[in-house]
Symmetry: C2
């Protein structure tokens, strides 16, 4: 924690971000000795987000011991920071009354995160222990679909009518004892609680007391609907530099507000999802067990096996050719590998550009033809280099030509597959990151082997 | 733009985010007719970030035409939104006086973005045309290293001494005519301008006029040093839910402030970088030309070629075996492909976990052993399946056993390579995303071919 206090000991940069190894050692020691006082002392000055990371990094049995040893002194603001798997373990170890108290203190978005995956009986018990207003608010948010703006928003906000003055608004805020902990703008609403505009706090700060909100408010603000997908929200916050934005219910009334820290987290999760999907990994957490992870990864390996078998069936069609020219078996993987690599390059660029909405009907054809040209250019470069190298290696110019031509063909096809497959998936409403990599490498393997071995069969036999 | 104005025409969701195809058509039409009025009218209600996207999507010649046609009416707030390649093209087309005026109006972070890659002579001319205070501020920011907190920060901020009351502070802000457009907290400083604490505007709003800043401020705030890398800043904003944070110069004095929208952009760029590097793509923009892109991608293709040649040299060692059992040529790619896929899965998870600082000395060994177990489990599953399938396909149990064992070996090695290579690169200070994929697939290709063909040579001949 940075501090200007001159007595604080200097911390090096690594400790400054994330948990220090020293803290981990003290915590593990305290858990071993079941020493509650030491445990609480060692996490006293640690940021809740870092305590959450520490819990995630501990083995499952230590995690349970941590929660039980800390008891009612468990810092409750760590709960909303935990990743899903660990959150469920920790929440399970807490008793209902304690949990209800915690949930009641949280903003709705965090409360919903704690409750959303709980089994129904327990969720009911925790909700029943809450004051009616909290219960209704949380229940309504839980009714919105997963990964929607309605789930992301908090209901704690500051709204005011347009005819109020800056002075009245400030006095209202000074008088309110339930002011949200973090808010960045005031939402101006009409009598039926429909937003009319927003005013940043910084603008309120610079305005004179008699000025009316009506004259100050930004009418051209951006809002979201409760059912809008969270990735649209994250995109808009990043694109338009929003810091907070109102969320409207089905009738157009103000339902809540989304703040940028939540949008930033979603943006980060969406990037993670794209990265993971391109890598053929599902929605796994670092704290998952061996069997959970093995099961998660199995489907993608099975798909890969299927495509590898298709490629080997292609090879099998040419086994007579390979038997006569065994060099083909040595060289064919080079053609397939270069195609796979070129296709992955194009694919990566395409998936990212689609995620950031940078490929549109305006530039799609230009980008497709550009990728093809890049494929041809690099295909010729590497086709010529490897064609000559093969000629020199095997002393057979025909073999060199076959390899060079096959490589050019495969790198052009790789470019086409790398750009058309993700665009096609997007068009039919599928996630381009999800299956593209498998399709693209299937295409490049099949075309690579077929072009090389087929050409060899025609030219060299 | 969402609006509660009942007269506004309803826009569908796709138009709501990003530029509508209709706007693009009008802009392209206006450029064709060189019709300045239509051009300006068609972008009048479009958000600057969307106009920037539109410019990026236009072909280069249209981009230039756009800038020239718009002339002095070019909406200047689009400039800081452009990606680097397009920014340089557009800035080049502007005249010095216009550019100096624009730069003078921007916050320092945006001004620096426009100037940083300009050639020195022109940069000097633009800077010389600025008022001395702006010039010094921008020059000092330009002196900080690329991708540092010093480059990200803006110098426009609100600071106040600790003994001031809330009332005095609000009066000061009302009186100031250079209040920053967006700010979210007040930084409390000592007489030598060193930060002592921060106060969120929302907290000022809820406090009574006589309260002193000293009593309200958060002493336990997080700050950055000018030379700190921008990825640390982005990580901290996301981890600790910061909205703005002070930046200190070498002497510990307040130099500027970083706001969350800039941190969010960096976080997004860092994710993009990881994704691109894993896909073997450099720092290319969608607006780059064919030759720029072909050149960018060439080095990675060359590295891949080298590794493909290594793999084929391994195969060449066994050409006598393949000549006798041509089925080996058909099946060997399956072993290599499954290893490559399993290795990529582990690698993807490892690279992401390292980027989010989720792999530490606390859990590294646990994660390494978990990955090995996952590799063995899935290796056995697929080894047995394919072993039996091979036996049935070729009617040769020996061939099935060789393939099954080779696959188990390769998937274990894939797991080890997938986790140890990125951790090793991180340990020596390299970016795990940069070269890991090539190393991992080299290992899985070499081990896959060697294990399968080597075992076959021993067992089947």
């Amino acid at each position: 924690m940075a501090s200007s206090d001159p007595q604080s000991t200097p911390t090096d940069d690594e400790n400054d971000l994330a948990v220090s190894p020293d803290t981990v050692r003290r915590v593990v020691g305290a858990l071993g000795d079941s020493d509650r006082a030491v445990l609480l002392a060692s996490i006293e000055d640690v940021h809740p987000a870092d305590i959450a990371d520490l819990l995630e990094q501990l083995p499952p049995e230590d995690r349970k011991a941590f929660v039980e040893l800390a008891g009612d002194d468990l810092p409750t603001d760590i709960l909303a920071e935990l990743e899903e798997g660990v959150r469920d373990d920790v929440v399970e170890a807490l008793d209902d009354d304690f949990l209800a108290e915690v949930v009641g203190d949280l903003d709705t978005d965090d409360a919903v995160y704690l409750l959303e995956d709980m089994d129904d009986a327990r969720k009911r018990e925790v909700l029943d222990a809450l004051p009616i207003a909290d219960r209704v608010a949380i229940q309504r948010s839980l009714d919105y679909p997963d990964y929607s703006a309605g789930r992301m928003m908090q209901r704690e906000l500051v709204a005011a009518p347009a005819f109020w003055t800056v002075g009245q608004t400030i006095d209202m805020m000074r008088a309110r004892d339930d002011l949200p902990e973090d808010f960045y703008e005031i939402i101006v609403v009409d009598p039926s609680h429909r937003p009319m505009g927003t005013i940043a706090l910084s603008k309120i700060m610079g305005a004179k007391r008699p000025a009316t909100l009506d004259g100050l408010m930004d009418r051209d603000y951006r809002s979201f609907k409760v059912e809008q997908p969270q990735e649209d929200v994250a995109y808009a916050f990043n694109q338009y530099h929003l810091v907070s934005a109102p969320v409207l219910d089905e009738t157009g009334r103000l339902a809540g507000v989304i703040t940028i820290d939540d949008a930033m987290q979603v943006l980060d999760e969406e990037s993670e999802e794209d990265l993971m999907r391109l890598g053929g990994v599902g929605d796994e957490d670092l704290s998952d067990t061996v069997s959970e992870i093995a099961k998660q990864r199995l489907p993608w390996l099975a798909v890969n096996l299927a495509t590898a078998i298709i490629a080997s069936v292609i090879i099998a069609q040419f086994d007579m050719v390979i038997e006569q020219i065994v060099a083909l078996a040595v060289l064919m993987t080079i053609v397939a590998s270069m195609g796979g690599n070129a296709g992955t390059q194009t694919l990566t660029v395409a998936v990212r550009a689609l995620a950031t909405k940078d490929i549109t009907s305006t530039n799609a054809w230009r980008i497709i033809s550009r990728e093809c040209l890049v494929g041809i250019v690099n295909g010729i470069v590497f086709g010529v280099v490897m064609g000559v190298a093969t000629w020199l290696w095997y002393g057979d110019p025909g073999l060199g030509v076959v390899l060079g031509v096959a490589m050019i063909v495969n790198m052009l096809v790789a470019a086409l597959a790398g750009i058309l497959i993700p665009i096609g998936l997007e068009k039919i409403g599928a996630d381009p990151a999800l299956a593209s990599a498998v399709f693209v490498t299937t295409v490049t393997d099949v075309v690579g082997f077929f072009a090389f071995l087929g050409l060899a069969a025609i030219v060299l036999l």
